[in-house]
Amino acid sequence: MLIAVILGFIFALCVPFFTRFFKKTIPFLYSLLPLSLFIYFFQFLGKIKNQGHVLFKYEWVPSIGIDLSFRLDGLSLLFAFMITGIGALVFIYTIYYLKGHEYLDRFYGYLSMFMASMLGVVLSDNLMTMFIFWELTSISSYFLIGFNNEDPASRKSALTALSITGLGGLVMLSGIILLQAVGGSYSFTELLNSSEAIKDSSAYGWIISLLFVGAFTKSAQFPFHFWLPGAMKAPTPVSTYLHSATMVKAGIYLLARFTPLLGDTFWWNGTLVTVGSVTMVYAAIHSVLRVDLKSILAYSTISALGILVFLIGIGTEKALLAAGIFILAHALYKAALFLITGIIDHETGSRDVTKLAGLQRVMMPVAIAGFLAALSSAGVPFLLGFISKEVMYEATLQFGDWAIILTALAVSTKILLLVAGFWAGIRPFTGNLPSEFEKAKLPSPLLWVPPLLLGILSLGFGAFPSLIGQSLIQPVFSSMSGTDTVVQLKLWHGFNLVLLLSIFTLVTGGVLFWFLKPSAELFQKTLRFELISPQNIIEGGSKMFGSFAGTWTRFFQNGYLRNYVITILAFLTLLMAYRLFWGVNIYIDWNQISPVSHYEIIVVALMIISILFAISTNSRTISIVALGVIGFANCLFFLFYSAPDLAMTQFSIDSLTVLLFMLVLVKLPKNKSFSSNIMKFRDAMLSLLFGTLIAILTLVVFEEPSTKEVSKYFAENAYVLAKGRNVVNVILVDYRGFDTMVEIVVLVIAAVGVYSLMKLDLNPSKKEL
C-alpha cells in the first residue's frame, strides 16, 4: 500500500532522469501508473465490501504518534477509484492534448506527484499524515496551475490558489493538533472511539471551525471559492483532474470522513447547510452568467461542491447517501464536460458559448459524450445524475421544518445547473456550424475516448444502479454514516413528490435553456456587483494588509540610527523602570558607604565637568581632549581604589584612542550641529532617565550583601599554586587565562579589520557579483 501511495512521488522524482534517456515515451510510461494503480485498488473492492475497512501501518515518527497508516474503506476506495481512474483517462488525454509541449515531462511529473498526494490524503488514517499529503496537493496544484509559468496571469492565479489553500491548511493544522490534544491521538480509527468525548469537550467549537476553514478553502466554498475560476488558467487536463474530479473534493472528503467523528451536532449541520446552500445557489447563478465554457464549468463545479457540503450538512442517512452518489456522478459528468471543453478549445481555439455551435457535424463521438454528460448533470432518468438527484430531493424533503426552503434551494440550484450543463455539453454541438469553425475536425481518439468512456459510465451506472449499489455505494455510505443500514439504488421510486420535483426541474430547466441565451452583455451587467464579491473584498483586504505592512515597516525601519537606539533603550528603560518600582525593595545602608576625601571630590568634579564638557561642546578636538581628561580621572579612581594594573592599562589605552582619534580627525569634515533643540531635549530626558535607572540599580545591587568566596580563593592560592604575587595578573594569565587568550584574538581581528578597512576598497568598480 505504501508503495502504491508513494509510487507517484518516485515517478515524479524520476522525471529528470527519464527525460535524459527516453523523452518520447514518457507519456505512455506515465499513463501506465494510474492505470495499474486503478487495477490495484480494484482488487480491494470485494474485501472492503465484506470487512468494512482495512488498515496498513508503517512506522515514521513514533515519538509524536505520527505514522504512515492507511485506512481503506468505502469512502477512501471511492476516491481512490476517482483519483486513479479519472487520473488514467486524464493522463491518456494529455498525451495528445499537450503533444510536443516543451515541458511535457515536467507536466507528467507534477501530475503523478499530485495523484500520489491525493491518494495519500484519502487513504491516510493518521490525521497528521493526511495533513501532510493535503499540503502536498496544494503545492502540486500550485505547480500545475502555474504550468504556463511565463504568463503572468497564470502565475497570479497559482499564487492565489496556493495562498488560500495554504492558509486554510495552516488553520486546519491547528485544528488537527487541537483535535489530537482533546482526543489524544492522530489516528482516525482510534479517535472514532472517543467521538462523544470530543463532541462534549469545550474545544469542540474550535475544532470544527478550524477544520471547516481547511475544508472550505480547499473545496472552494463561499467565500473562498474564487480561487477556483482563477485556477482555470491551468491546462484543461489539470482543470479536469484537480478542479472538478479530485482535489476540490478533498474538502468534501474531509467533511465526509469526519461526519461519524464530529458530525450530527447543531453547529456542524447548521454551518455546513448554510455555507453549502449559499455556495450552491450563488455559484449556480454565476455559472449561467458566464459565457466562457471553462468558467461556466468552474462555477457549476463550485455549485456542485456546495451541494455536497449541503448534503453532508443535512447529515441524514439519505443525505449522506445522496452525497456519496453525487460525488461519483459529478466526478463522471463534470470530468467529461471539462475534457470536451478541452477538445473544443483544442480544435476550434474558442471557448465562447455564444459563438460555438453545430460541432456535432465534425466531431460526433465528442457530441455523444457531451450529450451523455449534460443529461447526467441534468439528472435525466437512466443516468447516474438522476439517481443522485432523486435521493437528494428525498433527503431535503425529510428535513423537518426547513424542508421546504432547503428543497426549494436544491431545486432552483438543480435547474440552473441543468442550464449550465446543457450549455457546456449540448449547445456547442447543436445548431449549424459557423464558417469560422469549418476546418475543425475530429481529433485523435486519445482525446475523445476518455470523455466518451465517462459518459458511457454515467449511462451504465445510471441505467443499472445495481452495478455499483452493493459493491461500492454501500461501503461508501456506511463509512460516511458509521451505520450499516442497507441501501439499494433503484430507478423507479413510484409516483411521489420527489418524482414531481424531478420532472419540474427538468421541464423548467429545459424551458429556461430554450429561451435563455448565454450573452456577454448580461455578464457585463452583473460585473458591477463584483465590487461586493468576496473576491474583491478579500483582495481589497489583502491590499490594505499590504499597505499596513508598508506603514509598519517604514515606521520601525525608518533608516535613522537614533530612532533605532531610542526605540531599543526606551524599551529597556520601561522594562527596568517597571521592574524596579514594582518588585525591588530599595534601601540604603549608609554603613556600607565609605567616607569621601577632599582630593576625591576634586577628581569627581573634574570627571563630571569634563563629561558635561565633552557632550556639550561642538568641537571634535575639544570633546576628544575632554575624553582624555575623563579617562585620566578614571585612572585616578582605579589608582585610589588599589587597581594599579587597571590605571596603567586604561591610561595607555586612552592615550592610544586619543591618538587614533587625532589621526582620524585630520581627515574628517568640520563639525556641524544637526539636531533641533526639541530633539536635544527629548534625547536628554531619555538619557537622564536611563542613567538614573542604571545608577539606582547599581546602588541597590551595591547594597546587596556580597560574597567574596571566589576572589578569596584567588588571593589565597595566587602564590601557593600559581606562583604569582600580582593576583590580577595571575587571574589574567592563569585562573581566567582563557579570557585573555580569546581577548588577544579580538585584538588580532580588530587589527586585521582595520588594516583591510584602510587598504582594501572595492568601490570604484561598478557592480559586484
Partner: protein, 117 residues
C-alpha cells in the same frame, strides 16, 4: 564615596546615550566610549571599593597579611578595557572610511540600505 561614583556612572551612561542619539557619527563613537567607561566603572564599583590596598603581595608573603582589593573585577575590567579598545578602534576607523567613501559625518545620510525597495 560610592554615591559619588554611582552618580558618575549614571552620568556616564546618560551622556553616552545622549551622544549616541546625535546625528554625527563622531559623536556616536564618543557616546559608545562613554558607555564603555561607565560599564567598566560599574563593574569595578560592584566589586566593592578598598582604598590603597592593591591585590599585590609583598615579597616573602605567601598570602595577604591584611585586607586587599577584590582582584577579580579588576581583571574583568582590564579584559573589558582591552576588548573595548579593539572594538572602538575599529569603529573609529570605520567612520573615517565612511567619510572617505560617502563624504559625510551625518548619520541621516546613511539610510539607503534600510529603505524597503
Amino acid at each position: 564615596m560610592e554615591i559619588l561614583l554611582i552618580i558618575i556612572i549614571g552620568l556616564l551612561h546618560a551622556g553616552g546615550l545622549y551622544m549616541l542619539l546625535r546625528r554625527s557619527m563622531f559623536k556616536m563613537i564618543i557616546g559608545l566610549i562613554l558607555l564603555g567607561n561607565g560599564a567598566n566603572l560599574l563593574i569595578f564599583l560592584l566589586g566593592r571599593l578598598v582604598k590603597g590596598k592593591p591585590p599585590v603581595m609583598e615579597d616573602g608573603m605567601k598570602v595577604f597579611a591584611d585586607i586587599y582589593a577584590d582582584p577579580l573585577p579588576q581583571a574583568l575590567v582590564l579584559t573589558a578595557i582591552v576588548i573595548g579598545f579593539g572594538l572602538q578602534s575599529f569603529a573609529i576607523i570605520l567612520i573615517r572610511r565612511v567619510y572617505n567613501v560617502l563624504n559625510t559625518d551625518d548619520l541621516d545620510d546613511l539610510n539607503s540600505t534600510d529603505e524597503e525597495i
